[in-house]
């Protein structure tokens, strides 16, 4: 399981790294990072197994590393023996396999074409916008009515490429089953919450959970700022909230020039 999670994390790194490394860096760098991750897992597990360190959380300090490795906090009562040492060696030996499987699973997603990935990102953006700005209510148009996702996509096309990459990774992380599970208890992607397509109730709960989490706060704010851009800049929404700008090339209807001043210097025109 740990190898699987590490593999998924590595996949995120791969997606991001692929964009970075495709700009000229060495792909071997990613391989080195992967090997480093496995080495860290080996070292940490081995130190736990020989009881050189303890498992720091959530167990108390007196809960030794060997106990944790053999019993994993369950009342199994196993103690170290030749058999468990051999079993441990086998398990350690297949860490790279689990890592490889996790990575492959991630990379399988990574192998989708750019167009497919783009479609998935569009879907996440569209559902996020629809959750924040559903049709009806005090401001009638919904995000779908004003084509918010297209506006957001245009925005992502003009921001710095690295920021676009980071936002893409954030959107996929936001959509991830792992985070949805952590916040809602459901093993689903964000876009698959709410079986009834007309409802955004579960998705709304997920959003509220994000905004209340200290560590995800900055990310939530970035997503809000990005998605609101696709909604509150739309003319039908302007009309709905009673905003009457922009007005160029004309002067604002409320323009008040005040008392007409005398020209302050020769040749300067007075205000019309």
């Amino acid at each position: 399981m740990l190898g699987f999670l590490a593999g998924k994390a590595y996949h995120l790194l791969t997606v991001f790294g692929d964009r970075v490394f495709s700009r000229g860096a060495d792909r071997r760098g990613l391989l080195i990072v992967g090997l480093f991750i496995v080495a860290v897992f080996w070292a940490y597990s081995a130190l736990l197994f020989v009881n050189a360190i303890y498992f720091p959380w959530p167990l108390p300090r007196w809960f030794g590393g060997t106990d944790w490795m053999l019993n994993s906090g369950l009342p199994l009562g196993l103690t170290r023996s030749t058999a468990t040492d051999l079993a441990a060696l086998v398990i350690f030996a297949i860490y790279p396999l689990w890592f490889y499987l996790g990575t492959e699973l991630g990379v399988a997603g990574h192998r989708v074409t750019n167009a497919q990935r783009q479609r998935e990102r569009d879907r996440i953006i569209r559902d996020l916008a629809a959750t924040m700005f559903p049709r009806g209510g005090a401001i009638t148009p919904g995000a779908g009515d004003v084509d918010s996702s297209a506006v957001i996509e245009r925005l992502l096309g003009v921001i710095p490429p690295l920021f676009d990459d980071a936002l893409t990774v954030l959107l996929f992380a936001f959509d991830s089953r792992f985070l949805v599970l952590a916040f809602t208890g459901k093993w689903k992607r964000f876009v698959d919450l709410d079986a009834d397509e007309s409802s955004v109730w579960e998705k709304g709960r997920y959003l509220a959970a994000w905004q209340s989490n200290t560590y995800l706060l900055s990310v939530a704010e970035i997503l809000k700022t990005t998605v609101s851009y696709g909604y509150y800049t739309r003319p039908p929404v302007y009309v709905a909230v009673g905003y009457n700008g922009p007005m160029v090339p004309d002067l604002p209807s409320w323009y008040n020039p005040g008392p007409v001043p005398a020209p302050s210097s020769p040749g300067e025109e007075a205000i019309p």
């Binding site: 920021f163 609101s228 700008g245």
Partner: protein, 512 residues
């Protein structure tokens, strides 16, 4: 001459007396002053060149065009939004034209605590008086106060608190309310309408401005800066290198970018570059009125209440300022990451908006890293948190005194104040990173000015300690935050630095 990225199809080598990075409140003035002294200048600007005819008053187009990172810049881990301009003219193109001279108390701190020479109020007055006429600074007239501003005025007066119309750098303002999207009428006297065109018309032969050009490093030889390496977003989506050889280098790219450039160039000699950043965090407080306010019709920031600010008290506090924004930017001041923000926005035309500009401590740090190349780490100290709560409470008091039926704070969890009795809710909700939504437009500090090398990055005249001819001149050199809108201070310090360099040209540039 202004060279845009689309004009570049090959790598470029330039030689000039002076290379300036950044074309905002400091960079544009430095270019003018240097040219007035007969020095040739190459000025590099990361953003694009957009004359006023490009400004169509639409958030959708203007925010990506004029704001750094398309407006997406946040502090970590607090998530405070930090707005900065990124275009020829810098933040002066997108600010609300508010002009305050540096408060005397602040100048006193700089003199006494940081041993900065020549920043006493009497000396600085000379530079303010030089800059102000050039950008047409004048006090807002009574007929120019819209309902949103009058609400602040009336509320403050009812409470017996001191306040006044703002001074602004605007000439014959059309009151469109969209200063922050670029002034379509050209009445806001930003750098784009003043120093830059003046430099072009009078010294076009001496000053060359490169837009769409990102400085990547300052080159050096020993203790001398020798120039700047940059990349230009050139024609056909290609980038080209631009190398500038110069006798003297000014870095004037703003708190984040100036610090980033110094760090990236390995010029953090005393380990202080990027340290001591303040941002003037300004939580908004929204008043809901029964009558229509139409806060977007008219000058957004035309009045302030200085009862609790350094201007009146001589100590750190907060300035309550009226402000208003077009729907998108306004929506970010309302709570919620879900459906609720839409419900709240339906009252847009009935809202008044006040911000309490916090005179914060310099505790932030710019460091290299993250997808954008640099991150701004920032959090509130406990003293700042206390002041922020007080500022929000008193902003709410003003709105209630002016007749608001309810006041909505910028807490992430919707917090509504109906009367004086509810004000403690602001305190109980707190101002921690998960509790509040805060915006800022005044990053400052990071390359502190000081009379002695210990504790400072630049000396009293903006020269980087340890270097003979490298200067940093922008808001990043403020030893402390100001407590008032900073553009006029930046302009005055730039004028002062230019004068000093002119008087000591041979010493710094190593020639006649």
């Amino acid at each position: 001459m202004i060279v845009q990225g689309k004009d570049i199809a090959q790598s470029v080598l330039e030689r000039a007396d002076v290379c300036i990075v950044g074309s905002g409140a400091a960079g544009a003035i430095l270019a003018w002053e240097m040219a007035e002294m007969g020095r040739s200048v190459v000025l590099l600007e990361k953003g694009g060149y957009h004359p006023r005819n490009d400004f169509n008053q639409r958030e959708e187009d203007m925010i990506p065009m004029l704001y750094k990172n398309s407006g997406l810049q946040f502090t970590l881990p607090t998530g405070f939004a930090v707005a900065q301009g990124s275009c020829v003219g810098g933040s002066t193109v997108v600010n609300d034209a508010v002009c305050f001279r540096t408060p005397d108390a602040v100048l006193g701190w700089w003199t006494d605590q940081y041993k900065v020479d020549g920043v006493d109020p009497g000396t600085m007055k000379r530079y303010f008086e030089k800059v102000e006429p050039r950008i047409s600074v004048g006090v807002v007239q009574p007929f120019e106060l819209n309902r949103n501003n009058l609400i602040l005025k009336q509320g403050s007066e009812k409470l017996g608190w001191s306040g006044a119309p703002n001074s602004r750098n605007c000439k014959n303002c059309r009151q469109c309310g969209l200063c922050h999207l670029g002034c379509s009428y050209g009445t806001k006297q930003s750098m784009l309408e003043t120093y830059i065109p003046d430099t072009q018309s009078k010294h076009g032969d001496l000053v060359k401005i490169y837009a769409d050009t990102t400085a990547t490093s300052v080159t050096r030889s020993g203790s001398r800066a020798t120039g700047v390496i940059a990349t230009v977003a050139g024609t056909g989506d290609r980038t080209f290198s631009l190398s500038v050889k110069a006798k003297l280098v000014f870095v004037s790219a703003g708190t984040v970018a100036s610090s980033e450039l110094l760090l990236r160039s390995g010029l953090n000699i005393n380990g202080l570059v990027g340290k001591g950043v303040a941002i003037h965090p300004s939580p908004g407080v929204v008043g809901d009125f029964a009558e229509t306010v139409n806060g977007h019709e008219g000058i957004p920031m035309a009045y302030h209440c200085d009862e609790f600010s350094v201007v009146k008290t001589g100590k750190r506090g907060y300035m309550i300022e009226s402000i208003f924004l077009a729907p998108y930017q306004f929506s970010l001041s309302l709570p919620g990451f879900d459906y609720d923000v839409k419900q709240l926005m339906s009252r847009y035309n009935h809202y008044a908006l006040l911000g309490s500009l916090l005179h914060d401590e310099n505790v932030g740090t710019v460091r290299l890293g993250g997808p954008l190349g640099a991150v701004l780490e920032y959090g509130l100290t406990s003293a700042d948190a206390k002041l922020m709560i007080e500022g929000m409470k008193n902003s709410a008091r003003v709105l209630l005194a002016a007749g608001a039926t309810q006041v909505i704070t910028s807490h992430r969890k919707k917090t509504v104040i109906y009367s004086e009795d509810d004000l403690d809710l602001i305190e109980s909700r707190g101002v921690g990173p998960t509790e509040i939504n805060v915006a800022s437009a005044h990053p400052q500090g990071g390359n502190r000015m000081g009379g002695k090398p210990e504790g400072a990055v630049v000396d009293s005249y903006s020269k980087v300690y340890g270097f003979e001819n490298l200067f940093v001149c922008d808001a990043s050199v403020f030893p402390t935050s100001l407590g008032v809108n900073p553009q006029l201070t930046v302009m005055a310090l730039a004028t002062r630095a230019a004068e000093h360099v002119g008087e000591n040209w041979a010493k710094y540039a190593g020639g006649s």
